[in-house]
């Protein structure tokens, strides 16, 4: 009896194996890429699916770099149609795309994302400059006695950097090196703070390797705490440690404004209006990239792009603004929309 029961069981792998075939077509859009763009792409995907004409697109959260790697693997139904990115595509990534036959890529700028430096409302409100953040977080900083000389970061408290700041220990929770948010923070804050020392700035032309090492390296002596990719976790930790600062996306600040306050940077508060008007210095553009060879092959790509670039989605009053995306000025939106109105060549 046992034997007879075992035979079909043994056949199961064979049956399953025969089910496997090359994926012929695909009737839904496949997207990959940045976890920062993920909440916005998924919102549009859901709206798009609910309209009922096309299936709801699938959105994978792989990170910007990982997304481009998949996106640039080739043309065909098994490869993604759209890659979301929290930075512009690099030329090396374009090369990789071209090598796999992905020649035409359309870039769509969707809006901005502010990066907030925030702390618990139980603590004092910080008013920082980018130079102060650089001095607080870089691994090597100019010697306070002789600014031509670099030394390992000696600052232990905020007060040592600026007398107006509290005498608390420097303790900043932020994303790990794999994160796009951290890349953007380094580029927008540390490099800018770095450039306020003219000799380091001029280093860029002479010895770029050294410049990058000086300006892009975050200290590792415990003042900067790698708190993982999950921004919610950073927010929770701020809540329990009133002395710590955290670095995360603006939408998390907006959702948690009842107990978290955003620090002023260069005298500007991280508010929706300030990011939209580009007054707030730490904000970056967000994008998605479309493989034009797939338009017309995979159903719905053009329509999805139209939905995303419509005023009701990424406009100033659109539903993406409710999700924390900081919209572009109306003129720019019109330009973006015009550029992608007809992707099929």
């Amino acid at each position: 009896m046992m034997k007879r029961a075992l035979i079909p069981a043994l056949l199961a792998p064979a049956i399953l194996g025969s089910l496997v075939q090359a994926q012929a077509g695909r009737d839904y859009i496949s997207m990959v890429g940045s976890s920062t763009v993920y909440p916005f792409a998924t919102t549009v995907a859901e709206q798009f699916g609910k309209a009922g004409k096309f299936k709801t697109p699938k959105v994978e959260s792989t990170g910007t770099g990982g997304g481009f790697k998949l996106f640039c693997s080739g043309v065909g139904a098994q490869f993604p149609d759209i890659s979301n990115a929290s930075r512009a595509i690099k030329s090396s990534e374009r090369d990789q795309c071209a090598k796999a036959g992905v020649k035409d890529i359309a870039e769509v700028k969707i809006g901005y994302d502010g990066i907030a430096v925030a702390n618990s409302k139980k603590g004092p409100l910080f008013k920082l400059t980018r130079k102060e953040l650089y001095l607080a977080l870089a691994k090597q900083v100019p010697d306070p006695t002789n600014t031509q000389n670099l030394i390992a970061n000696p600052y232990k408290t905020w007060k040592e950097i600026n007398k107006a700041l509290p005498a608390d220990k420097i303790e900043v929770l932020g994303p790990p090196p794999t994160s796009g948010t951290r890349d953007a923070f380094v580029e927008l804050v540390l490099q800018d703070g770095c450039n306020s020392f003219s000799w380091i700035k001029s280093l860029k032309d002479v010895d770029e390797g050294r410049y990058n090492k000086v300006c892009n390296t975050i200290r590792e002596d415990g003042a900067y705490i790698d708190a993982g990719e999950n921004d919610n976790l950073i927010v929770q930790k701020l809540d329990s440690n009133a002395k710590a600062l955290g670095i995360f996306g603006y939408s998390f600040l907006e959702e948690n404004q009842s107990h978290i306050q955003g620090s002023f940077i260069d005298g500007v508060a991280p508010t929706f209006e300030n990011i939209a008007s580009m007054k707030y210095p730490v904000s970056r553009p967000l994008y998605f990239y479309v493989k034009t060879a797939h338009v017309g092959v995979i159903p719905g790509i053009q329509e999805y792009v139209n939905e995303f670039t419509s005023d009701r989605a990424m406009g100033g009053e659109g539903y993406l603004a409710n999700k924390g995306l900081v919209p572009q000025p109306a003129a720019e939106i019109a330009k973006v929309r015009k550029a992608v109105a007809n992707l099929k060549k």
Binding site: M2, K3, L6, A9, L10, A12, P13, L16, L19, V20, A22, Q23, R26, Y28, S30, V32, S35, Y38, P39, A41, T42, T43, A45, E46, Q47, G49, K50, G52, K55, T56, K58, V59, E60, S61, T62, Q78, K121, E229, N230, D231, N232, G249, S251, F252, E254, E255, N256, Q257, S258, H259, E317, Y319, N322, K323, G324
Partner: protein
């Protein structure tokens, strides 16, 4: 003092210390158990206290006018017109009728934000279900927006000043007015158990992930059980001991300890890139998890087979049974409880995996509940991970609730393991 007395004196001198050591050891053991239990209780109580509220959801009841001028101005009643009509406008109109004091653009926007965006679909379903309703009116119950829900559950503090909370004073006033009428209340959240993922917390459900998990685990079970058990039977009962079987055994034991992400990379390279199987499909997920559970099942099955006393084998062979009869009729049935336990432990591990699924595209936002093995799908732990990463506060309770569903899944599986073991267990 003679030798015996000396020994005795030494033993007696040490006796107290030995008893004390034993008592200490027992206390340590008990302490370890209690500490473990305390952590379990802590975990469960946090999850339940945070997640319980997600099983109830705020619903708002409104009187909706099925205005023919908005739905079907030309009176054609054809499906194309009816399915593209602006149903959100009907919901907005009914809110406006309830609170006419909202005048400015900002105020009306705040008012419309009280109801979930799914309300338009609910109205559409009513009209498409029976177009003769056009022109009439009806009281309909819609999902409230997640912030309204959070306020009712006390997770948004109404005593904070306006700037510090995500609802304005005016919105709170409207919410209180609706609640006072009985038009806004908490009910059992059926959608959480019947819907797929959504960006709007109030519409998000676990059913898509549960179905994805079932499909994935189904494939895993179908593949790993027969392959694992046959491998174990062959290695234990038929294979000649030698260098080769030793090598295989070492490799299987090594595989059991390989980090799971490695299996995901293998799946990406072999199943997706080489065989061209679809991304994000439960079929591929199941195959990858099979690789992960196979070593566990083989090791557990071999241990179970080894535990069957040799006398059973000798008796069977002595009665003239062939080797295969001996295994199939006697050894395998007796080893079954152990094999099943090992399989279920392996499946429980597969249920909790996310890392290998990341590489094959199952960490994804998928709204539609999967219908087959090659539809894009996600699984429960991935759903937990994706929600935990979302900014909206209302996803916090949903994350905990999804963990509770996952734990319920695990408890059922482990209970099945215990039941099967007790049912089939034989002592000799």
């Amino acid at each position: 003092m003679n030798k015996a007395e000396q020994t005795r004196a030494r033993v007696e001198a040490g006796l107290k210390r030995r008893y004390a050591a034993e008592r200490r050891f027992r206390a340590y053991g008990l302490g370890a158990v209690l500490l473990g239990l305390a952590f379990v209780v802590l975990l469960f109580s946090t999850l339940v206290s945070q997640g319980w509220s997600a099983f109830r959801q705020a619903y708002v009841t409104l009187d909706v006018q099925y205005d023919a001028a908005i739905i079907d101005p030309e009176g054609t009643r054809d499906t194309a017109t009816l399915s593209t009509a602006d149903y959100a406008a009907l919901v907005r109109a009914s809110l406006k009728a309830r609170f006419p004091e909202a005048q400015s653009r900002q105020e009306t926007k705040a008012l419309y934000a009280l109801v979930s965006s799914s309300a338009a679909q609910a109205v559409q379903a009513r009209i498409l279900g029976d177009p003769s309703r056009i022109g009439g009116h009806e009281r309909l119950t819609f999902l409230a927006n997640d912030r309204v829900d959070q306020l009712l559950k006390g997770r948004i503090d109404r005593n904070l000043d306006e700037d510090s909370r995500s609802l304005t004073d005016q919105q709170v006033g409207w919410i209180d007015a609706l609640a006072a009428d009985g038009a806004l209340s908490l009910h059992f959240n059926k959608g959480f158990f019947t819907q797929g993922d959504s960006r709007e917390p109030e519409q998000a459900g676990v059913w898509g992930a549960v179905v994805g998990s079932l499909f994935t685990l189904g494939v895993t079970l179908l593949l790993s059980f027969p392959i694992g058990v046959s491998a174990a039977i062959y290695l234990e009962e038929f294979a000649r001991r030698g260098k080769w079987t030793d090598l295989i055994e070492v490799n299987i034991n090594n595989l059991a300890a390989v980090p799971s992400i490695v299996f995901g990379l293998l799946g990406l390279a072999v199943f997706l890139n080489f065989f061209g199987m679809p991304r994000s499909a439960p079929l591929v997920g199941g195959i990858v998890l099979t690789l992960l559970t196979l070593p566990t099942i083989i090791i557990a099955s071999r241990a179970a087979l080894k535990a069957v006393p040799p006398s059973i084998r000798e008796a069977a062979l002595g009665m003239g049974a062939s080797r295969i009869q001996m295994v199939m009729h006697h050894v395998f049935p007796l080893a079954m409880p152990g094999i099943l336990t090992g399989t279920i432990i392996g499946m429980a591990r597969a249920l909790g995996e996310t890392a290998p699924l990341l590489m094959i595209g199952m960490v994804a936002f998928i709204v539609d509940v999967p219908k087959g093995l090659s539809d894009p799908a996600t699984v429960l732990p991935v759903q937990v991970y994706l929600w935990a990463d979302s900014a909206e506060r209302a996803f916090v309770e949903r994350t905990s609730a999804a963990i509770l569903v996952l734990l319920a899944f695990l408890i059922v599986m482990n209970a099945a393991a215990v039941y099967l073991r007790n049912r089939f267990e034989r002592r000799w």
